[in-house]
Structures are given as C-alpha cells and as structure tokens.
Amino acid sequence: MKYELVAGFETHVELATDTKIFCSCTTQFGGEPNTHCCPICIGLPGTLPKLNKKVVEYAIRAGLATNCEIAEISKMDRKNYCYPDLPKAYQISQYDKPLCEHGYIQLSNGRKIRILRIHIEEDAGKLVHRRGDTLVDYNRGGVPLIEIVTEPDFRSVDEAKEYVEKLQNIMRYIGVSDCKMQEGSMRCDVNISVRPEGSEKLGTRTEIKNMNSITFIAKAMEYEYGRQVDLIESGEKVIQETLRYDDATNTTSGMRGKEDANDYRYFRDPDLVTINVPRSLVDEIRESLPELPEEKKERYINELGLPEADALLLTKYRKIAEYFESASEGTKTPKTAANFIIGQIFRTVETESEKEQFDVSVSAENLRELITLLDSGKIRMNLAKSTLDKMLETGKKASELIDEKDMGGLDEGALDELCRQAVENNPKAVSDYLAGKEKAVKAMVGFVMKNSRGKADAALAEQKIIKLVKNS
C-alpha cells in the first residue's frame, strides 16, 4: 500500500525589535549570561509587563504578508507551566484571540498552505548544562516571538522545505526577523502523520520539536514518515507523542512523555489590557509593506522579461533584488545586469548569510556604470566580463580599470582598414570560404578583434569581410 504524508507546521520566529516584548531590555543575541535582563524580564516579585507596541505592529506585518485577517480586538493570556527557564512560571502568550488568523502561503506547485493563526508571545531563557551543573541564562527571556501555525496541509517533504524557505524569505523581506535558524531566531515544530493514499481520515500524529535547519527538517520528516509507515505495515500503532530529532543518528526519539499531558491552565493575563487594533493602523502597515518576493518574481518575468530561473534567483533575498534593481536601472535591458549578477557576482557569495547581506565588492552603481559602457558600445562584452572580474577583485570602478585607449568603439574607417588587412593576410581562409567552408570567416573576424583589442563589433566585421571576400 502507498502512504501519504500529512504534516503541519508551528514556526517560532523571533521578532527583530530593538527591545523585549514587555520591558526595554535589548533583544541582542548573545552577550554575557544574564546581562540583557531587568526586574521585569526575570519576573521579580511585584513587576508588571508592559506590551511593546512594535511587537504588535511587526506581528501585523507578518500577518498581512501571509494574507491573514487582522483581529480588531486581541488580548494576552498566561500559559502556566513550571520550568527553570521560565522565571514567572507562566509564559505570556495568546490563547483564543490571536492577532492574525486565516492566511495562506502559496507554493510553486499552486497549492496553498493555510495559516491557521499567528500569535505573539515571549521567549523563555536558556538552560546551560555544564559539568553536572545546570545554569540558566535569561538573556533570551522576554524576546518577542510570533508563532505561525499552519493547517495540516503539507503532503510532501519538498512542500515543507519550500514553505520554510518561503516563510523565511517573506519575514526577511518585510523586516520583522532575520530568521537565522542556526541562532534559533526561527525554529520549527512539525506535526506529522501518515495515511493510506486516497484516505480522508487523518492518522495519529507525532510532533517533532524545535528543529533549526531546513536540512534537518527534511531528514526528520523523511525518517518519521518511514517510521510511521513501518509501524502501520507491521500492524503496530503510532503513538501520539512529542519527539526530538537527533541529527547525529538521523532518528527521532520520545521527548518528555509525562509533560505531554500538561494542562497549561490558560487564562487572560490580568496585568495587561485589551489590545485594540484600529483599522487605520492595519491600513498604514499594509501601505508600508514592500513588494513581496512572489510579486517581485512575477514582475521580473512579466515586465522585465527575465527567465523564471533568473527571476527566482534574484528575488530570493531582498538585498539581491534591491541590488539588481539599482544596477539595471536605466540600462538597455535588465537581462544584462541579471547575467552579470548571476554569472559572476554570485560566485563571490556562498553562505546564506552572505547572500542575505549581499555586501559585495562591486556596488550596484559601479555595475551600472559598467553596463552603461557596454550599452553605449564603448566596450565589448568580452572586455566587460573580464573587467567585472577585476572589479570584484579590486573593488575599483570600471573606468579606473579600462585603459582610455581601449575605450570607445572603432570608427568605420579603421574597421574597414582592419577588415581589408584581415582578407589580405589570410589567403587560405579566403579560398576556404569561397570553396564553401563558411566557418573560415571566423578566422578573419578573429584577426580583426585581436588587432582592435576587442573594440571592434564582431558582427559588423563579419559582414564587411564577407562582402570583401565575395567582391575579391
């Protein structure tokens, strides 16, 4: 029997606000343990939370960018549980009135992954285990998070991978998070179950917690899919449980058993007032949203005439798209800039964060200058390419690297003269051509290019040479 995978995602995204969700401590990653803390975020007796307005705005941004409806009235609730990284013994979160609901993200295969809700909450601290001791660092405690919950709409690992990447790109584009999975600013829990293909009924699901890399997510889902299918095939049952993925062994294992039955005793946090979200604020935020990667890609294809593959590569990171748009501005065809970026500049950025930053040695302005030289016929493609390599190496401008005497096209007379010389100096090529070997003309064009230091227009030279040969 064939089995279909059914999965849903809960993704925690750390918001890039300067300060924490309920106090004015910095949200900066790292720092000496317990130095980004104050009486409020370590929950000292008597302290009270005060909601950071920016957090609400960022969450609304995230909601609008994923096609959600934004609640007019929302509130904060307490999720009670006891754990040393949680200094108040409750997490301030949202239970039954999340800020955003009913959105979706569309995948390249046309399927829509429905977003059930996006809510805001505070992050917990971190436990550090050291030589038999457990220490706790509350620097991360109170850092604002949004939790993005999807419906169980995933049917394949590829869909899941694409979703996580898309989500990451969207959040980065709209500036609400850097989504650095390795630093934990984006973490995924996956609910996963299997069912016989064609069946409508959902199978028993397990939840793999806290994964911080797309590769691990894919591996864990594949492993868990296989494990569940094996269980069913051998007549056993899948037990609903929380799992941890171990990348060293590429297996999943039960996480906390007893705590699965946690009763969080949610109730409204009496320390915080109702969140009223005026429609004017929602409109204002909607107005301020940048063009999203999906829209951009479509525009690049339809309006700029770029091939889909190019459009995809150029829109994945906001900085790259901005670079491309700036470099191609006012040039003859955007494709030129696209080719230079994808063909040559991309070689200098390898890691994800380098692509994210896209801090390359050739500025968009300098690339545009190079393209303008090319467009105006002052230099030829070969020279442009080699110049760009030099620019990437040195950080210098094209005009600093190209010799004055190399610049400027060849005037008609000089070209005619060179073509005449080419014919004169290549009798063998002439006779070969006349004997029907059309390719022989290339040798003569090569002569012209070489002797013009690449400044000649190869196509024009070829025309002129053929004319000369035929008339000879």
């Binding site: 007796p45 008597g46 009270l48 909601l51 009670n80 006891c82 040393p84 013994a89 009763d263 007032v273």
Partner: protein, 486 residues
Amino acid sequence: MSESKIARLHEGLVSKEFSCRELTEKYIEAVNKDNGALNAYVTVTPETALETASIVDDKIARGEEISMLEGIPMTLKDNISTDGIRTTCCSKILEDYTPIYDATVWKILKAQNAVLLGKTNMDEFAMGSSCETSYFGGAKNPHNINHVAGGSSGGVASAVGGNIAVYGLGSDTGGSIRQPASFCGIVGMKPTYGAVSRYGLIAYASSLDQIGPITTSVEDTAVVYDAISQYDTMDSTSQGRKGESVRSTLKNDIKGMKIGIAREYLEGIRDDVRNAVEEAVEVYRSLGAEIVYFDLPSLKYALPVYYIIACAEASSNLGRYDGIRYGYKAQNYRDVNDMVKKTRSTGFGDEVKRRILLGTYVLSSGYYDAYYKKAQNLRGKIVQSFKKAFEVCDVILAPTVPMTAFENGHAVSDPVETYMTDICTVPVNICGLPGISVPCGFDNKGMPIGMQLIGDSFCESKILNAAWQYEKAAGKFKPAGFGVKL
C-alpha cells in the same frame, strides 16, 4: 473628632516646634517600646528613617518649602517592594528576599522624603483576614492585644492604630485595608482599581489588588491618596486620579447627597454592627443627605466569585517562587523538580497552599467552565448591578465587617467561616470600585466597629467628602493606649 495628624505634624515641622529628627526619634522609641506587644513591624529601618529626617531638617533650616508628607514617619506593608530593604510578604519563602527596585508608590513617597520606619506585618501573601497566617505571627489589635488587628494589612493597621506610625500603605484584594482599619478603629481606603500603580506590589490577585492608605483620619487619607494616585507607565492597568485633588473637595457640604443602602448588605450582620451603621444613617439624614434604599441581589454571588478569581490568579502569580532565583530554597533534593516541590511544600504556609490548590483546580481543563468562566460571567453581572445602583445614589453605605475583631487564634481555626466575614468588603474589589472604612462605634467590649462608604469608579472625592462630614459630625475615632502621645 479626629483631626488631620499629618497636617498638625507638618505645621509643627514648618514652624520648627520640633525637628524632624526629634519627631522621628520619638516614633523609633515608640516602635522599640510597643512593637513587642503589637507585632506590627517585621522589619525596622531606623537608620534610613533618621537619614531622611536629617535631609528634611536641612531643607527646613535652609527655608525651603516642604510637602505635606515630607518628614512624616510612616510604614509600608511588607508586600510593597523597597530597594535594599527586605520585603517578605511575611512568608518563609521570601524571608531573605531583598528587592533591587522600588515600587512606584514608594518611589513617589521616597521622593517626598517620607520617613520609613519599617515594613509591617501581614497575612502571608495577603491571604487571610486576621494577620495570623503571617510567618512572623499575627499583629495585635492596639485596642486589646488579645484580639487580632485584622488582615491582611494587619501590621499597618496595628502600627497606625497604635500610633507607632503616622500613616501607612496597605493593599486591599478583598478587604485587606478596610477590614483591619475597621478592627483597629481607624480609616482605610481601597482606591478605584487603576488609581494607584500596582508596580512593585507583590501580587496576590492582580485583577483585584490595589494599594491604599491607612490613617487615623479621613483628611489624612485624602492627603496620602492625593500623593500616590498618579498615572504610572510601568503599570498597564494604571490610570491615575481623575480630576482635582480630593482634599480640595473634602469639606464640601453634602446636603442633597444621595446615600444608598442596599438591604443585602445588612443581612447576617451582628446586631451591634448593624445598629452602629443605622445610627450613621441618621447622622447623614441630619446632615441633609437623602437616604435611598434599594436591592442588590447579585451580592450573594460576590463571595464565591471572589474566592474563585482570587485563588485562580494567585495560583499563577505564586508559581514563580521555586527556589531557583531568590528566596528560600529547600535543602537535600534529588533533582530540580524535587527541589521545586520541596521548596514550595515547606516554604509556603497552609493558607497559601490551600488557595494555590483551589486556584489550580478552578483553572484546570474540565473545571474551567464550571468555576473560573462562570465566576468571570458573574463578575460582569455584579459590576452591572453596582453600575445601576450608582444611577440612584452617590455613595453606598454598608458595614465594613459583619463583626468586630476576632480573638487571637479564632480565625485560623475555621478558614471557611473566616472567608464568610469578607462578605461586605469583596464586592468593591470585584467591581474595581473605591471603598473607605471609617470608625462608627464600639462593641460592648470596647472593640471598634467600622462602616464602609462605596463610590462609583474614580469617585474617591465623593466617598471622602461623605466620610469627612460624618467624622466631623459624629466621628468615633479613639486613640489606643500605645505609641507616641501627641
């Protein structure tokens, strides 16, 4: 009648009749002499007090103007956070806890050079009606130390009633300012929810808690309330005082003021208490006020609603005392869970554990709807019925407590019976309304009786005005035989 002690002392300071140091030393001596009998203070701070006193004396010597509360010796209930001064909530679990920040109310008063004599006794985490759940033993009633001072702000009431502090700040979640004020024959006001910042008040039940003054006269309460009722950005539920200083309208005529009497408030009240309240009604009539009678049937839900909501919130608020970061930590444990369990089992007293368990239960899945949700719905109903009441009257007059101060040991022996005695005070907290208790008589053993005036939200000026007029016409304040003789 009881005149303003604060005003008199302020004049004494300004006119250099006595120095702030002399005044402070007098109070420190009185604390040293009488606190053994009253057990009002759990921490004394004579050095800080004298330091502040010399600052005030310097100011006076330089001819600078001083505010009403400047240099006046006072106290804070031990659940109000004081930077560098231990704040215990009278619990073993916080016995050695010293805050690293000031509660907003203390920040305000400290800036006015209030002279802090020390921190006063209370029921553990403000849970109790007799002060006897305190880890340090209960505060005693200055009118008779065989009786309790009441609770939970028993220490403040005992200190102010026994004149080993001029005034104090308490907190009131279900009557914890008004009830001990009533038991000790003094004045205590629970302001409108949001009028005074809760920042730094160690939470019992966040949606009900409110800080307020305990004093020997209505005017003193007005003075202190004017000082502390400020909007605070640190407390999202804070709104501050609405309108002018309440002291400015304190002495207004109350001719035509409508005093409301809800029959339900007088049911099940001990005869002598009811008689005292009814006599007060006559006083108001003679002052030209109009008496309006009405029914308040939703009042019968107030007590269960209060205990469900207060315990639910407390169960969450007190979750943080786990021995990890501060406070008491159990010794000899196997792992972190065992440590937390043992810390909480041995760090909290019985009453606190009882309320945490009750609160955890009413919030549990499967019981939430039957208890917590129902209580929230009923809370809304009670709020509505009070709103309606204030359509027909300006203030409501009621007893503060159905009886007078319990004898020592009585309250803890029967917790449920003791819960019942909160019947007259809890509705005000449920609705977030202001309420003041004013002395209105004595029982046959000489223990004080208190009456309560309740106002609509942010109408402190009305209840203070009504209270002041009563006090002037028929006030029953009587100094107890302790403390500083002025």
